[in-house]
Symmetry: C2
Subunit: 341 residues, 2 copies
DNA sequence: CTGAAAGCGCTTACAG
DNA sequence: CTGAAAGCGCTTACAG
């Protein structure tokens, strides 16, 4: 029950009657070892339940074999598949995954200087960075010291050329809005945007505008609202739009989380979907097909984004070739909230 | 742009004209250092962008200052608040968080021997363990070597006394089913369970049975189905029940994820909720209030569970007092899917 | 095929 | 208040 001292490579070496160097060699397959001794050593390793201490390896190899994930906060349905993809990538490549949220602590304190150091060159070999988790100055510093970083759903800031991975937001939205206009003859389409600087939101807004323009539908500022890419924000905004008497026949909520809020507000206001109002989202989350009515949306392969980000980062770390930017294609998923079937 | 060698404590010491020991002292506040030298050292640290290498610290201190999180797979709405709580706890206590999913890799391979070693005594000071991520033999081994572990939503296996944290499943369900029976006069209540061995599911089933018994309602095997605590499983099962002609006037879906599937199936089958069928869930996820109709459910403070788990684990690690078991109270949240309002 | 030795970057008694 | 020295557990040339 008391803590047992962990076996070290020296323990294994002694029990096997060899030197630590030889044990190290069988551990890494880094040199030929006679079959006999190898077998003996492996038996002892198992017997002693020996596992190399990463700390010691890190110190001598100057590599941590660890990837850091930096995020502003953990929330939204989006987060889960993203992490799932990242975790899968990390597992495939044999790296460890260290996670840190730069959000305020549970007492609501803002992060101090110390937290800037939570993840960095001292404890990881590279970083995957969510939008909003570190500022541009830190990104530039990381870039200037040549530290591997890959960006998720955001472009590299000026002065850096970090690779980034995201999804085809603009064309995905374009097809989505085209569908609303061409098939369902919608003309007054609300768009609910995210926070200023939210790049997914910005690209989706561009797709929205381009579709309107292509169909010679005037762009109306009163149809643009803030949804915050979350249920509550979208819900509140829709209630206000309705109360303000804004006329609309469709809503593109920005993403699927907020589509749930939109649907809820419309239901509460007695506006039948899709008969009177079409509602569409973006992402195609697991719950989206189970909304009422089932949500027409754009499928974004978020798990793949996470997986790819790890692969790019590992390529950076290993100084191999890698793509500077990968944009995963998105796909229109037609269900019933738009008015189809 | 090339990789710069990171500053070491020796670099700081030299630039400050002191020894490494003194630098170490100001870093830890572990001894009084003259104000002058301290100020000088701090300036150099900042100037050189020095951060201590955890690997070196770990090696000498024999502590990793990191907590490991072991999970079977990342999915479900449940996961996000749980991780959020864990991350908050870890941040508050100054530990790092290493995450590993024991799920098959992205090629569908089953985990090999190696992955048993992904997280353990060699690279963490303690483990938070999700159900299904490690087997009982490994738990017993961990226990026998005195390694700190806290269990989430599962009881400690025989032969171990690891602390566990979860929520009041049984009484929460009891109140939920009582509400259905007493207020809405439901008599034929479907229960959708999770996988065999899923302890939350088992406790909820007990609460369900106790409520029925207390109201002298016979327990009917044909009303028990498998929902798997996920949208799809619940959806399919409901479709089958309906097709089989099973009579029911309410559904307790097991959790909120599956409630979305139930609602969807019922809608598709043309069974109005809540007029003809009451539907209730468990967890109170962010999306639940936005379902149609808004879901009556039981609020489970999952984020608190995660936070508490970290606190218990840290107490174990620091050999302080800790509770052997913490059960967070749950609370009935009445919305409209049960038939209220 | 194998071992002795140096060294990775830190902390911690031990002296002073 | 401060420094010299040992040592944490490993890997890696260097010899043989």
């Amino acid at each position: 029950m008391g803590k047992k001292r962990l076996a070290t490579i020296i323990d294994v070496a002694k029990s096997s009657g060899v030197s630590a160097a030889t044990v190290s060699r069988v551990l890494h397959g880094t040199a030929v070892v006679s079959p006999d001794t190898e077998k003996r050593i492996r038996a002892v390793i198992k017997d002693l339940n020996y596992a190399p201490r990463p700390a010691a390896r890190q110190l001598v190899s100057q590599r941590t074999n660890t990837i850091g994930l930096l995020l502003p906060e953990i929330s939204g349905a989006f987060f889960s598949p993203m992490l799932k993809g990242i975790e899968a990538g990390v597992r495939d490549t044999g790296f460890d995954l260290l996670i840190h949220s730069t959000h305020s602590d549970s007492n609501g304190e803002v992060p101090r200087q110390a937290s800037r150091r939570a993840l960095g060159e001292h404890n990881t070999d590279g970083l995957i960075v969510f939008p909003g988790s570190i500022d541009q100055a830190e990104m530039r510093r990381l870039h200037s010291v040549g530290f591997p970083v890959v960006l998720l759903h955001q472009a590299a800031p000026d002065g850096t050329n970090f690779p980034m991975v995201t999804v085809e937001n603009k064309s995905g939205t374009l097809h989505l809005i085209n569908h609303l206009i061409e098939v369902h003859h919608r003309q007054r389409i609300v768009f609910l945007k995210g926070l200023a600087g939210h790049e997914d939101s910005e690209w989706r807004e561009r797709g929205y505008r381009e579709s309107l323009e292509a169909h010679h539908i005037p762009w109306r500022p009163d149809l643009i609202g803030y949804g915050g890419f979350c249920e509550e924000g979208a819900y509140q905004t829709m209630l206000k739009l309705i109360e303000a008497g804004v006329q609309f026949d469709a809503v593109f909520s920005g993403d699927d989380d907020s589509a749930a809020g939109v649907l809820s507000a419309l239901r509460q206001a007695g506006r039948p979907v899709p008969e009177e109002v079409s509602v569409v989202g973006f992402d195609d989350m697991p719950f989206s097909r189970y909304l009422s009515p089932p949500l027409t949306t754009v499928r974004a392969p978020i798990e793949k984004v996470g997986l790819k980000a790890v692969q790019l980062l590992v390529a950076c770390i290993q100084e191999k070739q890698y793509q500077a930017e990968v944009l995963f294609p998105t796909e229109l998923v037609i269900r019933q909230s738009c008015g189809c079937l």
